[in-house]
Amino acid sequence: MATKASRSAARTMMTPAVILLLGWMLVPLIMTLWFSFTKYLPLRGDSIQRGLEWVGFANYSRFLSSSAFWPSVQTTLIMVGGVLLITVVLGVLLAMLLDQPMWGQGVVRILIIAPFFVMPTVSALVWKNMMMDPVNGIFAHLWRFFGAEPVAWLQDASLSSVVTIVSWQWLPFATLILLTAIQSLDSEQLEAAEMDGALVIKRFWFIVLPHLARAITIVILIQTIFLLSIFAEIFVTTGGAFGTRTLTYLIFQRVIDSQNIGLGSAGGVYAIILANIVAIFLMRIVGKNLDA
């Protein structure tokens, strides 16, 4: 039973975390909003101390109408969609395979989970050089072995190469979560279906997949949030060149490379809105779970 005293104690205990997160959310958000309505070019001498010129929605419309905007949205969608498709499909298949009885399952799990722990800068560099280098990479060796001309992956197939690298990092995450979900599947149900003569594909479609639906949704939502802000993998491999400039990277370039804070902030507000739309769906699912 919670008494009045313990309630107020509970509120006190929560206060530091709440205040810190409130500040962390509001301070930069308000500053970004403010900058997005101003002309703010630090290299031309604009500064907060001298006062920023209010320009209304000019930055917002300029960001939308710049020639780099739509391609960056397209790149973002392809990258996020591609990685999601690869990790979810392969993740389901891998999870089902790992759920079967086998020798050395623990070791295989360890091998598969490993990429998730590799820091993004390392995985990007290792793939860029050790795997995808057009002269000395493993793929170049393989291609030459089969008599084919090696490919300059990060130039000629840049977007799919980055998608590959990012998928490699996130496949372990999807697999692990889907495996956990599969293991909670009632095996008697499957056996009954098997005895009734249901084909493998039917058993998958009508029993396994519906059971996984929730876990798949969660994988998609959590990955989307992380994938929308992919940074190091692009920064290290292509630097946004060859059609790999996502919305996140475009904003980064506006703010850091061209030091156009107003324009970049307007882009940032778009990114925040986009992330929030995804977040609302995730919240619903996680929130439902809280009641259970």
Binding site: A10, W103, I112, M119, W168, L290
Partner: protein, 276 residues
Amino acid sequence: MARNVTTQRKIITTAAAWTIGLIIFFPIYWTILTSFKTEAQAINDPPLFFAFNWTLENYAIVQERSDYMKFLWNSVVIAGGSTILGTLIAIPAAWSMAFVPSVRTKDILLWMLSTKMLPAVGVLYPISLVFVQFNLLDTRGGLMVVLMLINLPIIVWMLYSYFKEIPGEILEAARMDGATLKEEILYVLTPMAIPGIASTLLLNFILAWNEAFWTLNLTATNAAPLTAFIASYSSPEGLFFAKLSAASTMAIAPILILGWLSQKQLVRGLTFGAVK
């Protein structure tokens, strides 16, 4: 009734799973292997898998060239500091939400999680302005605070989901036996909560260690952790595969080991308790 599995099927499954596992692990294996080769052997055609002279010279060169130990120490201090700081702030919050829930507890939890969704790039400039203002740029303390704030929602959530599993009856029993609030926390709750706190620390240490947006953008030389150390190898320079491999191996080895230890908690932590 256990499912009847033929040996033949088990062999096929084992072979398939091992093949896929080895393919996925290959880039890491190849990096570790290459780190023990000379630069000439590293780019040998065909690639060398076994027959080469193992050498440690790359590790020596990397340490000498960029002072690996300094970056390692920065990573340990930043990731460790932010995790401990975050946990200290999160424990009371998660505790009160788990044991004295109010009508608003759920909303507060969800709101905390929502701060995690704020895209970092959208607030990069304001944060760096604040950093300049308070002289925090390229300091370990500043980065520690930022990483703590980024991971705080996950820490609160993880702890909350662990604390919730501690049965309330035990607390009542302790209270009936005349335990004070302090005794209750020290002798009843803490021992039961330690496993949950330990896995929270572990997972968040890993997340902070691998964070690569703020660590790249808010550091220069003094406070740069291993993420930045590796990024300095991003421009190719003559023969550098073996050195790159050695540097990469050094950057990921500590966390790979911790990661393997924490894989059981990973699922529940990263799905905020939605998949267990």
